[in-house]
């Protein structure tokens, strides 16, 4: 046991932290070791000095003000606790379901529209002729008159078609 450990053991004895056999052993060591006895006396003296040594102080604000701060903080905490514990209102509960459902519905609608708006570019040229056009090169413009009595659909396709095919198509 080194010097430091011995000091801490004597301190523990003074502080009443050693019990039973260990306390007994250290007490008997004190009887025979003047240096340990001196240390014990010094620690006991310091402990004595500290007894009741906490300086009394007065709160540096008025009692009423102090209480008003405390009561306000208590009320604030209680309001917060109630707010967090409160079950969601009917509208909030509905929104919890409606928002994700609406999202899914929008997605489905979008996908459906994408499917249905793909133009069918199979142009029938009679029983023997059929011209396949690719969507990539197709431009479509639609014009409606103000009173909706007439609609013009403008197709612009830049594919080089054989003149005989166009003739067939126009026939």
């Amino acid at each position: 046991m080194n010097e430091n450990e011995i000091q801490l053991k004597v301190q523990a004895l003074v502080d009443g932290e050693l019990t039973g056999q260990e306390a007994k052993e250290w007490r008997s060591r004190l009887e025979t070791d003047a240096r340990l006895k001196e240390l014990h006396a010094w620690l006991t003296g310091v402990r004595g000095l500290m007894t009741g040594a906490e300086l009394p102080r007065t709160l540096p604000e008025s009692g009423d003000f102090h209480w008003s701060q405390i009561s306000e903080a208590i009320r604030h905490e209680e309001r917060e606790t109630k707010r967090l514990a409160r079950p969601a209102s009917g509208a909030n509960r509905l929104l919890r379901w409606v928002v994700p459902l609406a999202g899914v519905a929008c997605l489905v609608l979008l996908l459906t529209l994408q499917q249905t708006t793909k133009p069918d570019l199979g142009i029938s040229l009679g029983s023997d002729h059929e011209l396949e056009l690719s969507i990539d090169d197709l431009d479509v413009m639609t014009f409606n008159t103000g009173d909706d009595t007439m609609s013009v659909v403008w197709l612009d396709y830049s594919l080089d078609l054989q003149q005989d095919e166009i003739d067939l198509w126009l026939d």
């Binding site: 010097e3 430091n4 000091q7 801490l8 301190q11 523990a12 502080d15 932290e17 240390l39 010094w42 620690l43 003296g45 310091v46 402990r47 000095l49 500290m50 007894t51 009741g52 040594a53 906490e54 300086l55 009394p56 102080r57 007065t58 709160l59 540096p60 604000e61 009692g63 102090h66 209480w67 701060q69 405390i70 009561s71 903080a73 208590i74 905490e77």
Partner: protein
């Protein structure tokens, strides 16, 4: 109309029971009786007036919220004091003020500093009044590092055991013992300096 309880003359356990039942006036009376004590304990640890006010105030709010947990094993002021102490320790941790200071750095390089410090004897102070001595001890405590002061406050004033201090400070019992020993030596040394300076001892 039911008569209002006589709060100012009520016994403490009665006030606690009323407060537990939600009676804010009973709690106000408890605050009025023990507010200085809560403040003193916070000040002893923090050594900062406004922080001590804030922390003692917070301790009262926590005490109100946890009144159901108070079963009278200790007295109400002791229970409250534990709450104050815990909040102070949390604050010290938050501030990370328990920094490595020069003494610890020295300790790491050359072994425990306790061995190199003289144990200052303070025998001839009988002539000094208790109040004067307390003021000088208080001034010496203010000069200790946060962790050394805290361990002294928890042991000497809060009257906790080594094990309890170790738990609260998140350290080992050995460290608590070592810090306490060093804090006592340093305190005695500072006190001797002050008393010498004031011509109270040779």
């Amino acid at each position: 109309m039911p008569e209002e309880p006589a709060y100012s003359s009520a016994e403490e356990p009665q006030l606690v029971e009323w407060a537990k039942a939600g009676d804010m006036q009973a709690f106000e009376e408890l605050v009025s009786r023990h507010r200085d004590r809560a403040y003193v304990r916070a000040y002893s640890i923090m050594r900062n007036e406004s922080l001590a006010v804030d922390l003692s105030q917070n301790a009262w709010v926590k005490a109100w919220q946890r009144l159901e947990q108070f079963h009278g094993e200790a007295s109400f002021p002791t229970w409250l004091s534990r709450i104050v102490t815990n909040l102070c320790l949390d604050e010290l941790r938050r501030q990370k003020r328990a920094r490595t200071d020069s003494i610890e750095a020295m300790e790491e390089s050359t072994g425990p500093v306790e061995n190199r410090m003289e144990m200052e004897t303070l025998d001839p102070i009988e002539g000094l009044g208790r109040e004067e001595l307390r003021e000088r001890i208080d001034a010496a405590l203010a000069k200790l590092s946060d962790k050394h002061r805290t361990v002294i406050v928890l042991y000497e004033f809060e009257q906790l055991e080594y094990r309890e201090i170790a738990e609260k400070m998140g350290t080992s019992i050995g460290t608590v013992m070592s810090r306490l020993f060093y804090a006592r030596k340093r305190l005695a040394s500072l006190l001797k300096e002050t008393l010498k300076r004031d011509g109270l001892i040779e």
